[in-house]
C-alpha cells in the first residue's frame, strides 16, 4: 500500500497524458462521425439504387466486423500494398489511422440510428404541414427535426458511452492512450516495473468520464421530455 502511494504521483502523471490521447480520439471521432453518419444515412435512403446498395454494403461490412480488425487493416494494409506507410510515422501517424478507423466505424452506426429516426416520423406530420401551406424546408426545420432529435438522442447516447470504452482498442496499433500508459508500468517505465495496479486504475478514468457523459446526455434527454 505504501509502495502504491509512493508510485501514485508518477503513475497519475503518465495516465493523465494517456487519457488526454484517449480524450482526443474520442472528440475527433464524434466530430467526424456525427456529420459523416448523416451523409451515409442519406446514401442508404437514396432513390438511386446503386448508391443505396453500395452504402448499405459498406454499413454491413463495417458493422459486421470487429473494430479491432478494422484498425489493424486500416493501419497496416496500405503500407503492405504501397510498400510505404501512408499514415506517417510515430504517434501522429497512429493517431491519424485510429481516427480514420473510428470515424468510419462510428459513422456507420450513427447512420443506422439517423435512418431509424428519420423513418420513424410519420408521413402524417409532413402531410399536415403541406396542407397548412408550409414549405418542405419549414416542415423539416419547424416540425420534424426536433422529433427526430428526440428519437435519436437515447441510442446516440448509448453509442457515445460505448465509444468512451472502445477508444482502448487503439492500443492494438500502439496508440499511446491510457491503457498503453498503464501497461507501460508492467514492462517497466520511470523506475517502476512489474506493477499491474496502474492498468487496473485506468478503469477509474473510464468510469468517471462515462459517468460525466451519462449525466450530460441524460440531461439532454430530459430536456426533450416535454413532448411525446
Amino acid at each position: 500500500m505504501a509502495l502504491i502511494m509512493e508510485q501514485m504521483p508518477i503513475v497519475l502523471r503518465s495516465l493523465n497524458v494517456g487519457f488526454l490521447q484517449t480524450l482526443k480520439l474520442f472528440i475527433v471521432t464524434l466530430i467526424g462521425a456525427l456529420p459523416l453518419g448523416l451523409v451515409i444515412s442519406f446514401g442508404s435512403m437514396s432513390k438511386v439504387s446503386p448508391l443505396r446498395w453500395l452504402t448499405r454494403f459498406v454499413i454491413w461490412v463495417v458493422r459486421g466486423t470487429p473494430l479491432m480488425i478494422q484498425l489493424l487493416i486500416i493501419y497496416y494494409f496500405p503500407g503492405l500494398v504501397l510498400k510505404k506507410p501512408i499514415w506517417g510515422g510515430g504517434e501522429a501517424g497512429r493517431f491519424l489511422a485510429a481516427s480514420v478507423s473510428f470515424i468510419l466505424n462510428y459513422a456507420c452506426y450513427f447512420a443506422e440510428i439517423y435512418r431509424g429516426g428519420i423513418q420513424s416520423i410519420s408521413k402524417g406530420q409532413t402531410e399536415a404541414g403541406l396542407v397548412l401551406g408550409m414549405t418542405r424546408g419549414q416542415i423539416f426545420f419547424r416540425v420534424t427535426l426536433l422529433q427526430m432529435i428526440k428519437r435519436i438522442v437515447p441510442p446516440i447516447s448509448n453509442e457515445i458511452i460505448t465509444l468512451v470504452k472502445d477508444t482502448s482498442l487503439a492500443r492494438i496499433i500502439a496508440l499511446q492512450e491510457i491503457i498503453w500508459a498503464g501497461q507501460a508500468f508492467l514492462k517497466g517505465s520511470q523506475g517502476i516495473s512489474g506493477a499491474i495496479w496502474p492498468l487496473f486504475f485506468t478503469a477509474v478514468y473510464y468510469l468517471l468520464f462515462s459517468g460525466l457523459l451519462t449525466i450530460i446526455l441524460g440531461g439532454l434527454e430530459r430536456k426533450l421530455d416535454y413532448f411525446k
Binding site: 403541406l130 397548412l132 416540425v143 422529433q147 411525446k228
Partner: protein
Amino acid sequence: MAILEVNNLAKSFGNTKVLKDISFSLEKGNVLSVLGSSGSGKTTLLRCLNFLETADHGTIRVRDELLFDADDARTTREREIRRKRLHFGLVFQSFNLFPQYTALQNVMLPCQLLAKEEENYKVRKKQMFAEIAANAHDLLKTMGLAEREGYYPHQLSGGQQQRVAIARALAMKPDILCFDEPTSALDPELTGEVLRVIRDLKGGDRTMIIVTHEMAFARNISDRIIFMHDGYIEETGTPEQVFDHPRSERAKAFFSKSLEEI
C-alpha cells in the same frame, strides 16, 4: 355559384384505378358528405383535392379559377401548388398535431409562417402576430378548449386533439374544409363532442366536404350526399334522395347494411 367544380378526376396507383371519372360541384356554404365502403376511393378523392396526390386526369376549379388541370403542366407545378392548397383545409383521421407545440402554438404556427410571405412583414410583424394570436384564442374557445391552450397534444384526449386540429385548419381560412373520417380514431364517447363541433361550424358561408361512416350525422348535416363505389360516384343527391330512395342496387345494399349495424 358553385364554389368548387371537379371534372373527370381520375387517379391510379400503379395498375389499380382508384378514382375513375369523378365529377361534381359544390355550392358555397353547402355541406357535402362522401359515403361509401372501405376502399371506394374517398380518402384518395380528398387527397387529390388537397394536392397530396396528383390526379392523372381531370380538372379542379375553385371560385371559377382553374387550380388544376392534369393536361396543363402549368397548373401542376410544385411551386404553385403550395399556394393552391390554401383553398382547401384537411382534417385527418389521425389528427396529426405537431407534438412539440402546445394547442395554441399548433393553431398559430402555420399562420405565422404564412405571414412571413406578406410584403410588409418586417414592419407589421407585431401587429400581424397579435392578430394571429387573437384569432387562435377565439378559435380554440369556439372549440371549447379555452382552458387547454397551453397543453401539449399528448396531454389532450383524442377528441380534444381533433378539435385542436379543426381549429388549426380553420385558422388558415380555407374556402373548403375537408374532413377524412374525423371521428374514426376516437372512442365512441368522444365521437359526439367532435361531431357537435363540426355541426356548429355549418352555416354562414362555410363550405365543407366530410368523409364519414357516421350515417345519422351525415344525413342530418349534409346538403348533398355522394355515395362512392369502386372509384365511381354511384349515386348523388340530397340526403332524402340518397338515404330514403336510393336508385342503385349497391347504394340500397350499402344503406340497408349500415342501418342493420346500428
